[in-house]
Symmetry: C2
Subunit: 235 residues, 2 copies
């Protein structure tokens, strides 16, 4: 027995273009092109798919908008991320300015908390080792220089990885990048988020103890400090 749950699909691209889009996605999925490699030139794709060049260009523009490829004039079109025909794309529009930054931080909080909880539930010995090593590096650098930007990032990335869900890594990495762009040129005070420093060890301990709730709580503590400092800076 079934019931309508409420949804609608619409055709959004015409036949040839969507066909070419699928073809390109299949080509990328089938080929062993790695990010950074060069796609075949437009004229070649055009001949291979038996479509006009404008159609090929619109397909490329589409993938470009989704961050899958990058075109360099005079050189070629380069793959940025591997995709396959089954890949789903969720374009996210975020307002610029103070407001968008704060909104994005709230979204990031939700993701970060869940990633930590998952890491606590699923981290294996190897994951814990990796996280702890990043933590030790971070603590050392922090003691020496008073801050530890890249090392902090490395620590959190290792937590995302331990969650076993690559989407968190992808989403949060992009959000961090966007936050820095909104900041303007990725420069911050040396003591940025320094007060969050002790909580990183507590987060690690919660993950090691396989305690999702404690991991959630400590992540919230870290982010509360980070967000407070960010709000200070954008004043």
């Amino acid at each position: 027995m079934e019931a309508e749950w409420g949804s609608q699909a619409r055709r959004v691209t015409s036949a040839r273009t969507s066909g070419a889009m699928r073809a390109v996605a299949e080509y990328i999925g089938r080929s062993d092109l790695q990010p950074g490699d060069c796609l075949p030139p437009e004229r070649e794709l055009m001949a291979e798919l038996s479509v006009g060049r404008s159609t090929i260009r619109e397909v490329i523009r589409h993938w470009q908008a989704l961050g899958v490829v990058e075109s360099r004039r005079g050189s070629g079109t380069y793959l940025l991320r591997r995709i396959s025909p089954e890949t789903m794309h969720l374009p996210l529009a975020v307002d610029g300015g103070r407001n968008g930054l704060l909104q994005m931080l709230e979204v990031r909080r939700g993701l970060e908390v869940e990633a930590s909880a998952l890491a606590a539930m699923r981290a294996r010995a190897a994951d814990l080792e990796r996280i702890e090593s990043k933590l030790l590096i971070m603590e050392a650098v922090h003691r020496e220089k008073g801050c530890a930007g890249p090392e902090d990032l490395a620590f959190h990335l290792s937590v995302y990885d331990a969650s076993g869900n690559p989407i968190f890594n992808q989403l949060l990495s992009q959000m961090r990048e966007s936050v820095q762009i909104l900041f303007g040129m990725s420069r911050v005070r040396v003591d940025f988020a320094a007060r969050s420093f002790p909580f990183h060890r507590k987060l690690f301990e919660a993950i090691a103890a396989k305690d999702p709730d404690a991991a959630r709580a400590n992540t919230l503590s870290i982010l509360a400090i980070v967000e407070e400092d960010i709000k200070d800076m954008i004043r």
Copy 2:
């Protein structure tokens, strides 16, 4: 005093196209076009911006890929979401298939929990009224038919709105749609997630009591049931 925090930006579009993209974004931002309204025809934009039609079309393809506009052959190009030149776009790629579905559900859990917590912190009287009315409708339909798909959706959407952060609505709506597409044609058992039904009232009460932690917990309860049923179905 400053410190490098680690980031890089790159040029990705050429002069005319990016200029036209900005111009279209400005046009949309300045005009009072609402979602659903029709943009000027390509030939008109072409003349107005003094660029070739192919350039205009590539710009439109770009916004189309990002879900901002939709083109209908013979009719016109329609605005789906308002943007301005300051809007940032974070396209995310999610693997399809069973695995991708489960991963997406985990991401959704993080977002949904945070949205509920924010709603509990910020919901005003009008928001609570809206949420309660959706809840009552949902309960009524549920008692009558045994399920309440669209009404359940309406309830959750009102919670997202009460969070005061439109990104949650945008992301979660897209994820729900994607989940349904992965499901195959949006048809489910009539008793889908029926056991989560009582927790909806508890969630509302937590929000009304301005208790973020209770809101988090009840949202987790709802999602645990939903995820369990989904896992049953995709077996």
